[in-house]
Symmetry: none
Subunit: 222 residues, 4 copies
DNA sequence: GATGAATGAGGGTTCATTCAT
DNA sequence: AATGAATGAACCCTCATTCAT
């Protein structure tokens, strides 16, 4: 009786490996996300996961491997969330909208994971940055495809030939960057919901896209 | 007199404090920018600066203080560069264009400083992030003002009633975020010049602004 | 019945204890011999033995106990091999020759065991070294006896008065040390067979013995 | 006054680097020699040297480097001691005798150093063993040269052509091995002085050498 | 008879920081 | 103005060893 006298409250011992691994990854996401790769200590992660340090090493081998596992899991989760948010049967602009919303919702709900992907992973050497770059490119490719579809839809025809590949990539790059910035803004100022941020961005994106497609480019000289 | 009494050949000794400090800050920018706050060691910085470690501590007190000094100096330099790039007598769109160009030129010319501001500072605890947030807000405010002016200019009148302050700020926020992302893109892929990156973004921004002013907003329901 | 009810394919399970123990000792000999006492890990030994670590502890109690068991088994094997190599009915010099040969053959055939006895055991604390010292003394005593017999045989009589016990022991000590050194040499350079090594040493020993018996000692003063 | 009240008793602080390095090497020799490479801890060495661990790393970089430095210093010391012990103007047999004596005296006076060279260094990987092998080969070459000179001296002529190179090498190898064994014997049993051990070995060696030179080899068949 | 799960303790290494000169 | 000498604290990682099943 007294403290800890409940049924299975307190810290559970003897769990199957798969479960423990997820707990460790959860703790690692939180620690890496808030402190950064170098500042996060394995002691801290182990303690937060409720296990001893050797167990973390037994399952995840090293700090680098742990970080890589974190990046992989969270990158996959984000991409899946965006993918799951779009309904392929809808028109392209609605898909783009849904994808953006899913992106904002997911990053808002998992701020530590987002910090790991956005801030930490790119900061600590090639191997980690490569993982995030892969994810980012997957998203950029997805957005690029949606833009292409939207372009065809908007023109009612398939003749939108002057959309140079680099323009589209630049657009997508700027779009993702703007999304990242807005995600931060939305997370910091509580009064802007994920939905509003997505709407603002969509507004922005749609116009840029339309202009690009109509050949109406802003040029310095004019 | 005595040993070393020649001209100033070899490594210069006995320099005025202000000069030494700038050398230390230069070394710190490079080291922090390339390695990150935690991975950068005071030994490395001191060696790169050509001084002994105690001197670094004598002048800059601690690693945190040194990092803060770096952030302040480089944030000021970036803001000044953007401000110096605009000519207040020009029309607002030309000012926005010039500011963007100055931003890209400066970040391209000082990649380590940009890395410190964009990647490292926000990654390592509140005090540092606050410094960068202040700079970012200064730029956002600047851009917000330019956008407001451009809006009024485009309408030839001051009656643009549906441009809510929050919309403008959101637009500026997205614009700055997109600029940061494109700056990274431009720094990584050598084939996109600062000018092209600025043009792409301006193109994007101008369209978003125009749409906003015409009240042509994309809405989910449609 | 049930899973694993087939013949004895795959890794054999449920073996009698004595067999399992020998497998563990085999693995330990190899691991200790190649890596040394401290560098060898119980994990490695257990894996090489094809059993789980707790089983090793169940049977052999601790790393120290395991090492001791290894030393005992291999010391016994070496002494037995040398003893088995001599034919008591032969003349003493032939016995000495046969013993040397057996020594070289055995160490060449069990290099890991020899490494444990010669290099590792004496390196890690008194308790282990004592085991090996005991074995060494057994061999030295054996050699001492053979030398004594050979001396008597060479003189055709038992009157070899100037062969002090200490001289004989010193000779045996040097002989065994030389044998150990040559065993290492033979193991390292593949081109010297056990037989040649033994012949070289026998050659050496016989002359020393002869000199000793003839009272022809080399003395510093001359 | 009282404890520590003396002039410069107690632990001296602020010493020049070269002195501190030697103190560290002294402590390392003792620790490595008694405990072995793996069992010796840098903490222990630092404490024995009277400094903090970081200083050991500052000066000697790593445990491996420290061990290498120890091996080099002690190998050099041993070779120098042997070399210094011989008087080149004496006859060859006297030189051989003097060298052996110097060897025994030095190893008896520096048992930890001898343990490092003889037992530890060969046990822990190629890089270390190579250092000792180099020293050993230097000694073997020295002995080989002396043997050659002694052979010519003993025959009064230079015609000792049937001394095959391998025989000489084997002889030297066995000689060094026997010397090592006798050194251990002498160290363990206090009643055998270094001089006696050297005499026993010299006796042994001289006879083997003589036999070899006279072509009187012991052969199994006879 | 046999094992997956788990840990206390300790080792090598590095780093920010400070004296004494 | 400037530095060689020195360290407390912390971090990553490994290992011998033990439960509970």
């Amino acid at each position: 009786m007294g403290a800890g006298g409940g049924a299975d409250s307190g810290r559970a011992r003897r769990m199957p490996r798969a479960v423990r691994e997820q707990q460790m990854l959860d703790a690692a996401v939180r620690t890496f996300g808030r402190l950064g790769y170098r500042a996060a200590s394995m002691d801290e992660i182990a303690e937060l996961a409720g296990v001893s340090k050797p167990l973390v090493y037994l399952y995840l081998h090293s700090k680098e491997d742990l970080f890589t596992a974190v990046i992989r899991r969270e990158a996959r989760a984000l991409v899946d969330a965006v993918r799951a948010g779009v309904e392929p049967s809808l028109p392209a602009d609605a898909q783009l909208w849904a994808g953006l919303r899913a992106f904002f919702v997911h990053t808002a709900e998992h701020p530590d994971a987002w910090a790991v992907l956005h801030r930490q992973a790119r900061t600590h050497g090639e191997p980690f940055a490569a993982e995030v770059t892969a994810m980012r490119e997957e998203i950029v490719a997805f957005v690029t495809a949606l833009i292409g579809a939207a372009a065809r839809q908007a023109c009612h025809t398939a003749d939108a030939p002057d959309l140079a590949a680099r323009d589209v990539t630049g657009l997508a790059q700027a779009l993702v960057g703007a999304a990242e910035s807005l995600a931060g803004w939305a997370n910091e100022t509580g009064d802007v919901s994920a939905k509003e941020a997505a709407a603002t961005l969509m507004n922005f994106a749609w116009a840029g896209l339309g202009n690009l497609m109509r050949g109406e480019r802003w040029t310095p000289g004019r």
